[in-house]
Symmetry: none
Subunit: 248 residues, 2 copies
């Protein structure tokens, strides 16, 4: 096997599992330990992974636990303010989770009279602070990763409601591939939320634009509003100017 092929194999393993053990690679690739070590050394030198005693780790793996402060808070507040203009008195709104939506919940006008369904306990807690908002927390299995409720029970309940507007945070948005995600369950959930709602707004910080992940949630055509912190005529948004999709 060629060196380049080995390198690709290693990187695939890393992308898949976030890590790789030297001993495993020796077995899988059928070469000596020294060869693997040299491979990892080279990939580490070219900055593609992080070499550690016993194997290597994905570079992105590092940043898993430094989310103490909300990232890009200002941008998220600006997004929230724009999105709030979509919410009118008397509306029934369905929301997902995520920091952007929580920020939106904090910025709502005090006299808004509306009904909110949400799958995020954090959002529910924020919304409960408003006297005139009725909050319904959709129950089910609680996801440790996404911090929202999910699973069959949630899907069932979603099928029984018909909100005027659905507000969703974003993992990734792409002109051709639309809204995509990585987690199967969350993917199903978002699809159902979109289908249940009359209109849909995607809240998307600009750096999540032009990225495409593995699982498809919706095409641009299925989305009604795209809300970013950029102004509507920003060139970065040019490729998203599709019929029916209103950018604000």
């Amino acid at each position: 096997m060629l060196k380049k092929e080995r390198h690709d194999f290693v990187m695939r393993q890393i992308n898949l599992h976030n890590r790789v053990l030297t001993s495993d690679l020796v077995q899988l690739l059928n070469v000596s330990e020294d060869t693997i070590r040299r491979d990892l050394q080279e990939l580490s030198d070219s900055n593609q992974l992080i070499k550690v005693h016993g194997g290597a780790l994905s570079k992105s793996y590092q940043s898993s636990f430094d989310d103490s402060t909300v990232y890009a808070k200002d941008a998220k507040i600006s997004i929230a303010k724009k999105a709030i203009s979509l919410i009118k008195d008397g509306m029934v709104v369905l929301t997902g989770g995520g920091t952007t939506i929580i920020e939106l919940a904090k910025q709502l006008p005090e006299n808004l009279h509306a009904t909110f369904f949400t799958i995020s306990p954090f959002v529910a807690i924020e919304l409960a602070k408003y006297a005139k908002i009725e909050v319904i927390l959709i129950g089910g299995l609680f996801s440790k990763n996404s911090q929202v409720t999910y699973g069959g029970h949630v899907i069932n309940q979603l099928s029984e409601i018909s909100p005027d507007l659905c507000l969703l945070g974003t993992s990734a948005l792409h002109p051709a591939d639309g809204l995509t995600d990585t987690d199967w369950e969350i993917n199903q959930l978002k699809k159902t939320m979109l289908n249940a709602s009359k209109r849909t707004a995607i809240l998307c910080i600009s750096e999540k634009l032009d990225i495409s992940l593995r699982l498809k949630v919706a095409t641009l055509e299925n989305i009604h509003y795209l809300v970013t912190e950029l102004s509507a005529d920003d060139p970065a948004l040019a490729t998203y100017k599709v019929k029916n999709l209103q950018i604000l």
Copy 2:
């Protein structure tokens, strides 16, 4: 598992719970006590945590005493510890809301393997920090006062489960009148929770004893465990020594 991964795991636990026990890490990571101790030593040397007898603490924990505002916190922690002894591996537990229950959720052993149903988003969020606990958040209308879900939808879902143990905080407890409350909806809710569960534990700070409110939830006979911060033979508890009611 790679050392770096262990270190990350430890830091994640610390960020989540503000503390970590050596013995828990031994179980969770499946390595010897010495290894954990050396890991903690290294993380302490690199100034990432504070090592103490029995485990380690978050560095920020020291300064961030913002949750010290919880009233009678020590008593509630002591209640929580006693109540936790009722929870065994594999159990299905149903909990209400309130600061006592939240405190309990924070004090659970790291390696507990159990299923928790709860009507409190706060409790759900705390429970989600444990790797081996499955959390089901029961959904419905969200009460602005009690900060729990309630209403017909919650009652319906409660009728479909049959937990081994129900943990309830207390508004008031009285030797003759039993468990009482003021809010009609919450009253209905608690009744349903008690009926659904095989056994029931009431978590009650001593100053809520000998008080009676307007709406009756349950008699002492319908309760299996009474947990207070007092020792079981405290004279204040003498009037609660009823057949079937175990005091701890």
